[in-house]
C-alpha cells in the first residue's frame, strides 16, 4: 500500500512536471519529524541542530536535539530516514519515507534529516496581488482594481486564482502565505489571507475578509515641471475634496453600523462594520509624513480600533507619532529608490532598522510594479534590511512573525512554535541571501507542497534538450 502510494505520488509528480503546474498537496494526515537543521524560529531564537515535529498540520515539537533529546541520534541511525538532497534548482530529487517508530513518546510517519540545512517559518507577503493578476499587461488577466472610489464590499477571496502559474514560482523562494489585497480608488475593498496551496480558493483560504484597504489621498504627486527637467512634486488639487468624500463615507458608515436594523441594506456599509467593531483592521495606505499624520488621525477620530499603516514611505520621520498611537507598519518595498534626490541614498534600505530601533511593529511588503511576480524577492529585501541595520533575527521577523502579528494571524502562523501551523520550509542555506535561498522542502499546514513550477519545468526541458547538467 505504502509502496503504491509512493509510486502514485511520483507519477503525479511527473505529470505535474509535464503540466508545468504543481498539484496541490494531499490532505492526508501525516506526522513528520525534521531533525538536524538550524531552526530559525522567528521568535528571536535560532536553534542549532534542532528538531521539529509535525502532526495533523500543526507543530507539536520544537527543540534542540543535542540538549533535550540526546537519545535521538542513535534512534535515527536505526531507522530508515530520508536525506534531503537537492539539485541546484532546489527540487527534491529523492525522498523515501518509511513508517517506523523512532522516538519513545512520539510516532512519525516520515523522518527527515536536515543536517546542514536551515529551517524557516514560511514567509508571509502582505498586501500583494497574487492570484488577482496573472500578466499585468494583459487586461483579461487582471482583477485587482474595480471602478468607483469607495468599494469596501469588493472581496479578493473569491477572485483568488489558485491555478495561477505565478504562485508556484513565488513559493519556491519560501513565501507560503500571502494577504491578497485589492487596489484602486479611495477604499479598494477587502483582503483575504491565503495559503499558497490549494485546489480552490475555499481550500486555500487562511483568513477570509481579514481587513479593509483605504488609499489615503496623496498630498503631492510627481510631475514633470518642464520638458528639460526630471520632475518634481505638485500638490494634489483634489485633496480636500477627496478627504471630504472619505469623511462623509466614514460618518455614514459608522452611523449605519450603530443602527440595529436598516431600512435598506447598503453593501458598502455592511462591509465597513468590521472596521468599526475591530474585527477587521483598517489598512491605510499613506506615503508622505503629512499623509501619515492626517490619515491616522482621521481613523482615530472615528475610533477605529485596529489601524495598520501600509506603505509608510516617510514612517521613519514620524516614529514618535506611530509609537504613541501604537500603529504598526507594513513597510513599502525596501528595494526602492529614495523618493527625493536629497534623501540618504540608502534611505529605503535602512528604514526598517529605524522603525525597529524606534520600537515600532513593522513588516516588509513588495508592493509596486510587477508585485505579483516579484513577490519571490521578498526575502532578499529582508536581507538588504539586515545589511542596513537589522539583526538577522529581526530581518526574518519582518517577513514572518511581525507580519503575522500585524495581520492578526500570529496565534497560528508566523513562527516555528509548538501549536502553530506547520507552514515552514527547509533551505540549503541562508534563505534571505539569494545565493543560498535554495529550498528543498516546504510544508503548508503540515502538507508537503511540490516545489515545481512552469519555470522549473522549462528549465529541465531545455537542460535535457541541450544535454546540459
Amino acid at each position: 500500500m505504502k509502496k503504491h502510494l509512493i509510486i502514485a505520488t511520483s507519477i503525479l509528480a511527473t505529470l505535474a512536471a509535464i503540466a508545468q503546474q504543481p498539484i496541490p498537496a494531499s490532505p492526508k494526515k501525516k506526522s513528520i519529524l525534521l531533525y538536524g537543521g538550524t531552526v530559525h524560529t522567528a521568535t528571536g531564537k535560532v536553534i542549532e541542530n534542532g528538531e521539529i515535529g509535525i502532526r495533523d498540520g500543526k507543530i507539536i515539537l520544537v527543540s534542540d536535539q543535542d540538549t533535550s533529546h540526546t537519545s535521538l541520534t542513535t534512534t535515527y541511525s536505526n531507522s530508515q530516514t530520508t536525506q534531503v538532497s537537492t539539485t541546484n534548482s532546489g527540487l527534491t530529487k529523492t525522498e523515501k519515507s518509511e513508517h517506523k517508530k523512532i522516538y519513545s513518546s512520539k510516532e512519525y510517519d516520515t523522518v527527515i534529516d536536515c543536517t546542514g540545512k536551515q529551517i524557516y517559518p514560511g514567509f508571509i507577503d502582505p498586501d500583494c496581488s497574487l492570484g488577482l493578476v496573472e500578466s499585468g499587461a494583459v487586461r483579461a488577466t487582471t482583477d485587482v482594481a474595480d471602478i468607483g472610489a469607495l468599494n469596501p464590499e469588493l472581496r479578493t477571496l473569491t477572485t483568488y486564482n489558485t491555478d495561477s502559474k505565478i504562485t508556484p514560482v513565488v513559493r519556491i523562494n519560501g513565501i507560503l502565505t500571502a494577504q491578497i489585497a485589492p487596489q484602486g480608488g479611495l477604499i479598494s475593498g477587502t483582503s483575504s489571507i491565503m495559503s499558497l496551496d490549494g485546489w480552490n480558493w475555499e481550500d486555500a483560504c487562511y483568513k477570509a475578509d481579514d481587513g479593509v484597504h483605504m488609499n489615503w489621498p496623496v498630498l503631492y504627486s510627481r510631475v514633470q515641471l518642464n520638458p528639460d527637467q526630471i520632475g518634481g512634486f505638485a500638490p494634489n488639487k483634489n485633496y480636500d475634496k477627496q478627504i471630504q468624500l472619505l469623511q462623509k463615507f466614514f460618518s455614514d458608515a459608522q452611523a449605519y453600523a450603530k443602527q440595529k436594523t436598516h431600512a435598506e441594506t447598503n453593501v458598502k456599509f455592511e462591509a465597513m462594520k468590521g472596521v468599526f467593531d475591530g474585527s477587521k483592521p483598517l489598512y491605510i495606505y499613506a506615503s508622505f509624513a503629512k499623509e501619515i499624520l492626517a490619515s491616522v488621525t482621521f481613523a482615530k477620530n472615528f475610533s477605529i480600533p485596529k489601524i495598520v499603516l501600509v506603505g509608510g514611505l516617510d514612517s521613519w520621520m514620524v516614529t514618535d507619532f506611530l509609537k504613541q498611537n501604537n500603529i504598526p507598519v507594513i513597510l513599502t518595498r525596501v528595494h526602492s529608490q529614495p523618493a527625493m534626490t536629497d534623501d540618504d541614498i540608502d534611505q529605503p534600505y535602512k528604514t526598517p532598522a529605524i522603525l525597529q530601533n524606534a520600537g515600532i511593529l513593522f513588516c516588509l511588503e513588495n508592493d509596486g510594479d510587477q508585485e505579483e511576480n516579484a513577490s519571490r524577492n521578498l526575502p532578499f529585501m529582508a536581507g538588504t534590511a539586515i545589511t542596513f541595520g537589522l539583526t538577522p533575527e529581526q530581518g526574518l521577523d519582518a517577513i514572518t512573525s511581525n507580519t503575522a502579528k500585524i495581520l492578526g494571524i500570529n496565534n497560528s502562523l508566523g513562527s516555528i512554535e509548538v501549536g502553530k501551523d506547520a507552514t515552514l520550509f527547509v533551505s540549503d542555506g541562508d534563505a534571505l541571501d539569494m545565493r543560498t535561498n535554495i529550498i528543498s522542502l516546504a510544508f503548508i499546514k503540515g502538507k508537503k507542497i511540490q516545489l515545481t513550477s512552469v519555470q522549473t519545468a522549462l528549465y529541465h526541458e531545455y537542460m535535457q534538450k541541450y544535454g546540459l547538467k
Binding site: 512634486f233 503629512k290 529608490q337 541614498i345 531545455y462
Partner: protein, 989 residues
C-alpha cells in the same frame, strides 16, 4: 508759449504726431511737425560706456541729431530741462512675444498622428515652421506696451516662439502707433528650439528626436538648395534656406541644453545666439567655452515654500541653492567674458524687472555691463547697433529719462521715448514733497510727515499726544490734498486742500472739518533723508556651486582634492576577484595610477604620496557594467513616433545631473550603456558612458566605445499594450516587424551603393546632384559595414530566431539580444553565431510574451557558451546588480566567478569595452570597487567605487556629504524663514 516746459502728460492725440507713414490717408487736416527737442542739463549715457554730465540731447524727426556737452541749441527748439535727471538709451528685449496673437493649440486626439497637419507644400514635420514670419503676425498692442515701456524697454525681438524651427522673428518698438511704423526690422532673426510647441504630430516625442529633426533639416535644406533638378517643392526648406542669412537664435531652458545647441551649431557651422535658462553659472566654464552670445532672463527663482517642515522636505537642495545663487548669474557671466543680453522674459510680473536688475548689480554685475546687456549687446546681436542701443548722432531717438541712476533702488523712470515720441511712465509733474512739516490746522499744531517713494508719497499726521495718524495724500501740482481723522474724534475728519509754494517748502490752504471752513498751513522743518537702513546683504559665492548642481554634487575644490588624492592609489591586502583566468587572488595589492591599473601583486612598493587603502577582509573587483540602462537621459528615452528612429542619439540627451548616476556608483556600477527604449523596431543610438559624477554629458561618454544601436521586437514595437488607439503605425504584427527590417536594410544597402557610385564620379558642372544625406539610412549602413552594433530588446524565441536570419541574409554580425528572455530556447543557434545575451535575472509574467521567461536563462546561456550578462533596465535595480548576478547561483547553480563575470567582463565584452575595462588587469582602466564582503552577498556593500582611478563614491565621504546637504539646506531655509541673513557664510567641511 512758455519756452521751458515740464515734461508733459501726453494724451492720445499725440499719437498722430508719431505716425509718419506717408501712405496713410489722414482723416482731418494734416498735423505734420518737424520740431526739434532739446533735453538739457541731463546726465546722458550716450552709450553703455559713455556717460556725459550736464549734457544736451537734440532730437528731431525721431532721430538723434546731436548729443554732447555744450551742444548748440537751435533757437526754435522745444527745451526740456532735465536737471538732476538721467537719460539712457532705451532697453532692447530679444526674447518677447509682444504684439503676437496667442497660439491656439489644437487638442490632441490621443491617436497617433504620423503626418503633419499643416496643409500646403510644406515639409513633412509640423514642428518645422521655417515659413512662419512674425512680421506678418505682428500687431501693436497698446494693452501690453506700457508694461514694457515702464521697465525701460523701447524695442523687442518678437515671435510666437513656436516649434523646433520657428521661422523669422521681427524687431519692433513698443510705440503705440500703426503697425507699419512699429516694425524696425521685418525679418530680424531666425529662431530654433528643442520644443515642438503646439505641433500635434507625434514626431519628435523626445529631446533627442528634436535634435535629430534639426540635424536632418539642416541636411535636407542644403540638399534642396544645391539640387539642380528639384524633385519636390518644399516651402519649408525654401524658407529655411532664406532664414540662414539672419541672426540665429536658439532657445533653451537650461545649461545642458545650451551645450546641446552649441554642439549643433558646431556641426553645421552656424552662429547661434543662445537664449538660456538663467542657470548658466552652474556650468560656467563650459558655457564660456561655447564662445556664443547669450540672452539671459532675470527671472530669479521664487522663494521656495519652506514654512512647513514636512513640505520643506519636498524642496530639494538644488532648488534652494538656485534660489540663493541665481542672482549671481549675470555677474558671473560678465566676469567670465560671456557676451550677453538681458530679457524680461519669464517674469510673471514684469514690474519686478528693475528690482531683479538691481539685485543682479548687487550680486556683482557691473552697471556698465548691465547697461551693455540691455542696450548695445542686443542691438549688436541683431546687427542694428548703428540704429538702436546707443544715442549717437543719426540713431533712433529711443531713450528713457529717469530720476537718477537706474541701478539704484528708488530711481524711477519718468518717461520712455520711442522714435522721438514720449510715453509717460511716472508722473513727473509732481514735486518731491517728502520731509517733516510743522502743520497748523485751525490753530491746532501737528507734525506732518511726508514719506514713501517719490512716486507714491504718503502722509502721516502726528498730534501733540504723539499719536500717529495715517492720512490720505494726493499730489497734483501745484495742489495737494490731505485728509485725516484726529485721534479720538471719529465724527470730524479733517479734509484739506493747499497750494504748494515755488520752493516746495510751504503749503497754504483751506479745508473743512465738516462743520466749518478752516485755514491751514505747513512749513518744512526737516528735509527728507532716506532713513530706511540698507539691509546688510549676504552675497553668496560661486564657490558654493556643486558639480553636478544637486545633492551629492561636489564643489570645485572638493573635486580637485578628490582628483589629487586619486593620482596614485593602492588597495592593500584585499581578496581580489580579477574576472580574468586567475579569478581570485588572496591578500593582494592593486595599484591604480593615473587612471589605470598599474600593478597587481603582493606587497607592492608604492610612491610616497600615494593614497593607501587597507583592503584587509574586503573584496576588490572590477566595477559593474550595466549593458541595459536608461538612467541619465533628459526628456525621453524613446523616440517612438516612427518605426525607425535610427537618427536619434541618446548621447545628445544625456543628463549628467541624474542622481541615479551617484546612486549607481554606490552600488558599485562604473559604466553603462544608456539605451533608447523599445517603442519601435529600430530605436536610437546608444550612449555608452562611465558614471563620471560631476562631469558634463560629453565627458561621461566613453571615448573608445564603438557605436551601438537599440532594436526591439515583440509586443512593444507592435504597440500591443499601448491602448486601443495605437493601431496606426506599421508594423502591428511580428510578420510586419520582419519585413520592416528587410525593407530598411535593403534601402540602407542601396543608399550606400548610391553614395559610393556618386563618390566615384568626376565632379563637373554637369554631374548629377548629390544624393540626399539620410541620417537613418546612414546609421543602418554602418551596421551593414560592421561599424555599428545592435543590441536588440527581444523576448520570444521565434523573433530572436527571425532577427538572426535577417542578420545572416545581410551578412553582418549580430551583437546582443538584450533581455533575450527566451534565448534559452534557441541557445544553440545563438551560440553558433557567437551572439551575446544580456538578460534580467528573474523578471517575467508582466506581459504575454514573458510568460515563459525563466530565471535559469542566464545559466543555460552561459552553459551553452554564450557570453551572457545580467542587466537592470531599471534605475533601482541598477544599484543592486551584484544581487541580481548572485541569483544565478540560486537559479541553476552557476559558480560565483561565473556570476560575477555576468556583470563585469561579460557586459564589457558585449559592449566591446573589454580591452579597456571590465576586469582587474594591469593596463586596464582603474574602474574598480572595494566591497565590504563577498560582492555577491546580499550582506555586502560597495565601500569605494573608482572610475578611471578617481574615487567617486566613498562610503565615508558619503556620510560627510549627507551632513553637508543637511546643513546647507538648513542654512538656506533659515534665511528663507527668518529673512535675516546669516552672519557668517556657510563653511563647507
Amino acid at each position: 508759449m512758455k519756452k521751458i516746459l515740464s515734461l508733459l502728460t501726453f494724451s492720445s492725440s499725440l499719437l498722430t504726431i508719431c505716425e509718419a507713414q506717408q501712405t496713410l490717408p489722414v482723416n482731418g487736416t494734416h498735423d505734420i511737425r518737424h520740431s526739434c527737442y532739446a533735453f538739457t542739463h541731463a546726465n546722458i549715457f550716450e552709450d553703455y560706456n559713455t556717460a556725459l554730465t550736464n549734457a544736451t540731447l537734440l532730437v528731431k524727426d525721431g532721430q538723434v541729431i546731436d548729443i554732447g556737452v555744450g551742444v548748440a541749441i537751435p533757437s526754435d527748439a522745444v527745451i526740456y530741462d532735465c536737471h538732476g535727471k538721467t537719460i539712457y538709451p532705451s532697453f532692447i528685449d530679444l526674447f518677447s512675444s509682444y504684439g503676437m496673437q496667442p497660439l491656439k493649440p489644437q487638442p490632441r486626439t490621443g491617436a497617433p498622428q504620423m503626418k503633419s497637419a499643416t496643409a500646403g507644400a510644406f515639409g513633412w514635420n509640423q514642428a518645422v515652421k521655417s515659413q512662419t514670419d512674425a512680421e506678418q503676425l505682428f500687431h501693436c498692442s497698446p494693452a501690453d506696451a506700457p508694461s514694457y515701456r515702464a521697465i525701460g524697454f523701447g524695442a523687442a525681438l518678437s515671435s510666437q516662439h513656436d516649434g523646433i524651427v520657428q521661422g523669422a522673428y521681427t524687431l519692433v518698438t513698443f510705440a503705440d502707433t500703426v503697425d507699419n511704423e512699429a516694425i524696425l526690422a521685418g525679418k530680424a532673426a531666425a529662431g530654433y528650439s528643442f520644443s515642438k510647441g503646439i505641433s500635434t504630430q507625434d514626431y519628435p516625442s523626445s529631446l533627442m528626436g528634436s535634435i535629430g529633426l534639426i540635424r536632418q533639416t539642416y541636411l535636407d535644406a542644403e540638399w534642396y538648395k544645391n539640387a539642380k533638378h528639384k524633385t519636390e517643392v518644399n516651402l519649408s526648406l525654401e524658407a529655411f534656406n532664406q532664414l540662414q542669412s539672419l541672426p540665429q537664435l536658439f532657445i533653451v531652458n537650461d545649461k545642458l541644453s545650451a551645450l546641446r545647441a552649441d554642439k549643433i551649431a558646431r556641426e553645421f557651422k552656424v552662429k547661434y545666439i543662445i537664449k538660456g535658462g538663467g542657470d548658466e553659472y552652474q556650468l560656467l566654464d563650459e558655457i564660456k567655452n561655447t564662445g556664443r552670445d547669450f540672452i539671459i532672463p532675470l527671472n530669479f527663482p521664487d522663494k521656495p515654500d519652506v514654512q512647513d517642515p514636512y513640505d520643506a522636505g519636498m524642496v530639494d537642495l538644488s532648488s534652494l541653492l538656485n534660489w540663493e545663487l541665481a542672482p549671481l548669474n549675470p555677474g558671473a557671466l560678465e566676469k567670465a567674458g560671456v557676451n550677453f543680453a538681458l530679457t524680461a522674459d519669464g517674469l510673471k510680473d514684469k514690474s519686478a524687472f528693475l528690482a531683479n536688475l538691481r539685485k543682479a548689480v548687487k550680486y556683482g554685475l557691473s552697471t556698465s555691463g548691465a547697461l551693455k546687456a540691455l542696450t548695445y549687446n542686443p542691438a549688436a546681436m541683431m546687427g542694428m547697433q548703428g540704429e538702436i542701443g546707443s544715442l549717437k548722432k543719426g540713431m533712433l531717438a529711443d531713450f528713457i529719462i529717469t530720476s537718477g541712476d537706474i541701478f539704484k533702488q528708488g530711481t524711477c523712470i519718468y518717461s520712455n521715448w520711442i522714435k522721438g515720441c514720449p510715453y509717460q511712465v511716472n508722473d513727473t509733474t509732481n514735486s518731491d514733497m517728502r520731509g517733516t512739516y510743522a502743520l497748523t490746522v485751525d490753530n491746532i499744531a501737528y507734525t506732518l510727515l511726508i514719506g514713501g517713494d517719490v512716486n507714491t508719497q504718503t502722509a502721516t499726521v502726528v498730534d501733540d499726544k504723539k499719536h500717529n495718524i495715517p492720512g490720505f495724500f494726493h499730489l497734483a501740482n501745484p495742489m495737494l490734498t490731505i485728509s485725516f481723522r484726529p485721534f479720538g474724534d471719529t465724527l470730524h475728519p479733517i479734509r484739506l486742500n493747499g497750494l504748494i509754494s515755488a520752493d516746495n517748502k510751504t503749503i497754504n490752504g483751506t479745508g473743512t472739518n465738516g462743520l466749518k471752513q478752516i485755514q491751514w498751513k505747513a512749513n518744512l522743518t526737516t528735509a527728507y533723508t532716506d532713513t530706511t537702513p540698507e539691509t546688510p546683504l549676504h552675497i553668496p559665492s560661486l564657490n558654493e556651486v556643486r558639480y553636478p548642481f544637486s545633492a551629492y554634487g561636489r564643489t570645485k575644490s572638493e573635486l580637485d582634492s578628490i582628483q589629487k588624492a586619486s593620482k596614485e592609489v593602492v588597495i592593500r591586502n584585499a581578496t581580489v576577484w580579477t574576472g580574468e583566468k586567475d579569478s581570485v587572488l588572496l591578500n593582494t595589492d592593486v595599484y591604480l595610477k593615473d587612471g589605470v591599473i598599474s600593478a597587481v601583486g603582493k606587497n607592492l612598493s608604492v610612491a610616497k604620496d600615494a593614497t593607501v587603502i587597507d583592503g584587509t577582509g574586503k573584496y576588490l573587483t572590477a566595477g559593474i557594467i550595466d549593458e541595459h540602462s536608461h538612467i541619465a537621459v533628459t526628456d525621453g528615452v524613446n523616440e517612438g513616433a516612427e518605426a525607425c528612429s535610427a537618427e536619434v542619439r541618446i548621447g545628445d540627451a544625456l543628463n549628467s545631473e541624474d542622481i541615479c548616476i551617484y546612486r549607481s556608483l554606490a552600488g558599485g556600477v562604473v559604466a553603462c550603456q544608456v539605451l533608447h527604449g523599445s517603442a519601435n523596431p529600430i530605436g536610437g543610438q546608444s550612449g555608452i558612458i562611465k558614471l563620471r559624477w560631476g562631469m558634463t554629458p560629453e565627458q561621461l561618454k566613453i571615448q573608445y566605445a564603438v557605436p551601438f544601436i537599440k532594436f526591439a521586437l515583440g509586443e512593444n514595437v507592435k504597440q500591443a499594450n499601448w491602448g486601443d488607439v495605437f493601431t496606426v503605425r506599421y508594423p502591428q504584427t511580428r510578420m510586419g516587424v520582419e519585413q520592416f527590417y528587410y525593407d530598411e536594410f535593403t534601402r540602407a544597402k542601396e543608399y550606400e551603393a548610391t553614395w559610393n557610385a556618386y563618390a566615384k564620379l568626376a565632379k563637373s558642372k554637369d554631374s548629377p546632384d548629390a544624393p540626399r544625406r539620410d541620417l537613418q539610412l546612414e546609421t543602418l549602413a554602418q551596421i551593414l559595414d560592421g561599424k555599428r552594433f545592435i543590441t536588440c530588446h527581444s523576448y520570444v524565441q521565434s523573433e530572436i530566431n527571425m532577427l538572426m536570419h535577417v542578420a545572416d541574409s545581410f551578412h553582418f554580425h549580430f551583437n546582443t539580444f538584450t533581455h533575450g528572455l527566451e534565448a534559452y530556447k534557441v541557445a544553440d543557434k545563438i551560440a553558433a553565431r557567437n551572439i551575446g545575451v544580456s538578460c534580467f535575472s528573474d523578471w517575467w509574467a508582466y506581459k504575454m510574451e514573458v510568460m515563459e521567461a525563466i530565471p535559469y536563462n542566464a545559466t543555460i546561456c552561459t552553459k551553452m557558451g554564450i557570453v551572457t550578462a545580467i542587466n537592470s533596465d531599471d534605475d533601482e535595480m541598477q544599484r543592486r546588480l551584484n544581487q541580481e548576478a548572485a541569483k544565478s547561483v540560486k537559479y541553476g547553480g552557476l559558480g560565483e566567478q561565473q556570476c560575477w563575470r555576468m556583470v563585469t567582463i561579460n557586459p564589457a565584452k558585449l559592449l566591446h569595452l573589454d580591452e579597456h575595462t571590465g576586469s582587474i588587469k594591469v593596463g586596464k582602466d582603474a574602474d574598480v570597487v572595494l566591497w565590504s564582503g563577498n560582492p555577491l552577498s546580499v550582506y555586502s556593500k560597495a565601500e569605494k567605487t573608482f572610475v578611471d582611478g578617481v574615487c567617486l563614491y566613498d562610503i565615508q565621504n558619503d556620510a560627510a556629504m549627507r551632513t553637508d546637504i543637511a546643513s546647507v539646506k538648513a542654512s538656506i531655509i533659515n534665511q528663507l524663514v527668518s529673512e535675516v541673513k546669516p552672519k557668517a557664510k556657510q563653511v563647507k567641511k
